[in-house]
Amino acid sequence: MNKHLGAQSVWFENVVSVNAAASVVGPKEGQGPLGKYFDIVCEDNLFGADSWEKAESEFARRGLDLAVKKSGLPMDNMDYIISGDLLNQSTGSTFGVIDTKRPFFGIFGACSTIGEGMALGSVLIDGGFAYNVLAGAGSHFCAAEKQFRFPLELGSQRPPSSTWTVTGHGAVVLSNLGEGPFVTGATTGKIVDMGVKDQNNMGAVMAPAAADTIASHLRDFNRAPDYYDLILTGDLGYVGRDLLYTLMKDEGYDISRNHKDCGIEIFDRESQDTHSGGSGCACAASVFSAYFWRKLKEKSLNKVLFVPTGALLSPTSFMQGENIPAIAHAVALETSR
């Protein structure tokens, strides 16, 4: 049976159940409004390592381990690990999974990585190529600042449209057996470039990609926005959210009533000084794993369209005058199928 749907979507014929989800975050995230929902809140950003990059791998290692533990299966039952992060060559993930000795796909989708991982994992399971897939994504504020912006101790100011990279990791275990929530469909995003060059305004970079993917998803599945209890974007922040609503209106959809953004949920922008909100691979991954997966599990939410968004910023292409392209992937999660 053909499982491809419309322009850029797939639907899953077989069970793909999100059996476990785990989140490990840094102290700032732990102090945020969702603090009590995270599985592990570490006391210090170095997490026992001696560099930010090694700490990022430690977050990945702990997050992936914990998700597997919560699934009740041994690591050896994971047929594939799919993981990514923000560091060059995805070292946050590669060093994080080194001890698992399991087959590994390293992916890069910037902050949309967890959506990309969940979609690919679901395809593997539905296609009969895997029984269990472990998908995760992580980021680290200090490592991201060092790689993309300025050294941490440089005395500079952040503009109000800037976002704060989440320190942490989120991971899920997808299985061909289980009681849900189920991944029932996915829409793979296209690279969207609307000419934005401002690396301090990632919300503006990503909003067109989010709008493009959400609208395509709704068209491909012939659904209205209110089919979903919640449309959950990754890390648009306050600026990106406002832009998304306008762009969606242009497409003929009003999503303002059932939309939330992980980047807005994770921090209190007044007391935590995070400006437009949280960002980074760990933002969508940890917020979904800690909070919204639980809401689906408890069935207080039944249909969620999870749309992690990624700004594909490269310091090199940026300095060569290129725009910042963006992407968003949508994963439909439902408690019944």
């Binding site: 560099s51 060092k146 300025f150 050294p151 101790e153 503006a204 600026v239 832009l243």
Partner: protein
């Protein structure tokens, strides 16, 4: 204009309308007060040296050395970034800002080793200032030389 360029132009206007502006007035005031405070501190140190009997030139040099030292110590202690967040340009423009721009990458890239980490990366922020500062002074020097020759 093609479709994409038109859409980009329209989107740019939308982004500008939605994106909050930096508080320029408040930031200018903070920069003025903090930058001024750093200069007052410098003048105080300078006065101490002159009243202790040092000449004008050595007093100025020692003042700069002390301000740079102070900035580097504050950077290493993780305090200069906090000052910078509040003061903005006020703590960037004085010599302390330059010292911070050299010390901060040195701290950050220590993990990549003393030579290729600290040594190579130390000037990633301050490097352009040194390059173009030197170039500008050479040009000014040449202009001065030519105008004096007449």
């Amino acid at each position: 204009m093609n479709q994409q360029a038109l859409a980009e132009e329209r989107y740019k206007e939308l982004v500008n309308a939605v994106t909050p502006d930096s508080k320029t007035g408040e930031n200018c005031l903070r920069a003025f007060l903090c930058g001024g405070a750093i200069c007052v501190l410098g003048q105080f140190i300078n006065n101490c040296f002159t009243s202790a009997g040092f000449g004008k030139d050595p007093a100025a040099s020692y003042t700069a050395v002390i301000l740079v030292l102070l900035s580097v110590v504050l950077t290493a202690a993780g305090l200069y970034a906090k000052i910078g967040k509040f003061a903005g340009a006020g703590s960037v423009v004085p010599i302390t800002g330059f010292a911070n721009a050299v010390a901060a990458p040195a701290v950050e890239f220590k993990k990549e080793g003393l030579v290729m980490g600290v040594g190579a990366r130390m000037f990633i922020v301050a490097g352009p200032v040194i390059v173009f500062g030197t170039l500008a002074s050479m040009i000014m020097g040449l202009i001065y030389w030519f105008t004096r020759m007449r």
